[in-house]
Amino acid sequence: MDSSFPDPLVELRDLSFGYGERVILDGVSLMVPRGKVTALMGTSGSGKTTILRLIGGQNRAQKGELRLYGPDGFQDVGTLNQEQLYAARRRMGMLFQFGALFADLSVFENVAFPLREHTTLPEGMVRDIVLMKLNAVGLRGARHLMPSEISGGMARRVALARAIALDPELVMYDEPFSGLDPISVGTAARLIRQLNDSMGLTSIFVSHELEETFSIADHVIILANGKVAAQGRPQDVRQSDDPLVSQYVHARPDGPVQFHYPGPSVEQDFGAAPAPLVPPSGQWT
């Protein structure tokens, strides 16, 4: 456990999760420090998005504890009933990978949605709050557009405005940079940092963009093989001598994470007696 950040908002303790036989997280312990920007990195399938879903209570851990700290101590998210879970979720905002905007609502109505669902604010105040949130993501002028009329990067910014509409404590971003052009990546990264600092949020984001991530994160966690391979300040993680972490942060194609999927050798496949196309026992050894 990283001791450089003493005040966690979220903490995973020896947490395990899998789908059937397939283990995704195996005894993971990590913390998301309050008021900081935390980056979750790791190879594909290492369980980054799963951690966000566990924090949001969309999945339940099979073992271990997921603590969400509040003014009166902490709650184990995995043990909450629906009412308690919904109360906990009101303290969170989540940005999905592709925005997940409501296709039949305009940009304005998308951002107004959580306000209309959870408050009885007068229409004038809803308007002001929505325009303030849209202004924060630079899309006040796009309020009248429909989701089909805006780009992927804009859709994610609208989704971000919607995620912060109720001033949450924790904002989770699932791959906010994927599929964006370099300008939009820079804009999104700056927004995450600015909103975190100006609104006093705690942010956690999943990303594969090394440079942008290391430039805005206060705390980096790298997952591999269902476990935490490294966590700490970006500069410490970058200088890690762990072979797997080093391969990841320097983007080397081969290392502990192999380029080739396990299978028969080249000699076996192209020799006189080629290996069968389907492994006889279900998988190659």
Binding site: R89, Q97, A100, P114
Partner: protein, 229 residues
Amino acid sequence: MLFGPAFRRFGLIRDQIHFLGNYSLAIIAVSGLFVGFVFGLQGYYTLQRYGSSEALGLLVTLTLVRELGPVVTALLFAGRAGTSLTAEIGLMKAGEQISVMEMMAVDPVQRVLAPRFWAGVIVMPLLAAVFSATGIIGGWVVGVLMIGVDAGSFWSQIQGGVDVWQDVGNGLIKSVVFGFTVTFVALLQGFEAQATPEGVSKATTRTVVMASLAVLGLDFILTAMMFSL
């Protein structure tokens, strides 16, 4: 979950009544008219053999109000609105809109499913009434205007022979049950659909097949119960 809270925000149900009802109106009215045309022809062919062609209005009306109005409307509703509901909910799921709603602490069953469900239940009897009304007009066009059945007999037989409770009431009960069934099947299939294009496609097909079979099966059960009462 489907009850209670949805009615506190009737605007959501009203919007869905507009969406499901208004957009199904054309297909229901046109189908009703053509079914009425056919009944005018077939009914006249049978009745004139027994010299009772003036009962054409009554035959067309009873058949439509008691049976074909609710059943054919439900089958058309499953094809027009049911598939649309399944695809909409399935695509919302595939696009993570259901997940995002849950993460906003908004229950998708209450916010998305319940208004659509109640709208379907409310709209079906209204559409069945439109179907039956246009069908009767179709029968009148063919029987009275084209074949020459006496207009006075056509309408007076309807007036004298149709019982509001026995005939219209039974048809109404059927259409409410069918509205309940078709909308429930459509929403369930959409909500349970795999979040992939193939999953949504399969769910849409299942909606039509299951809803149609359920309507036809329930129609037999309801008719048998109504005859025995």
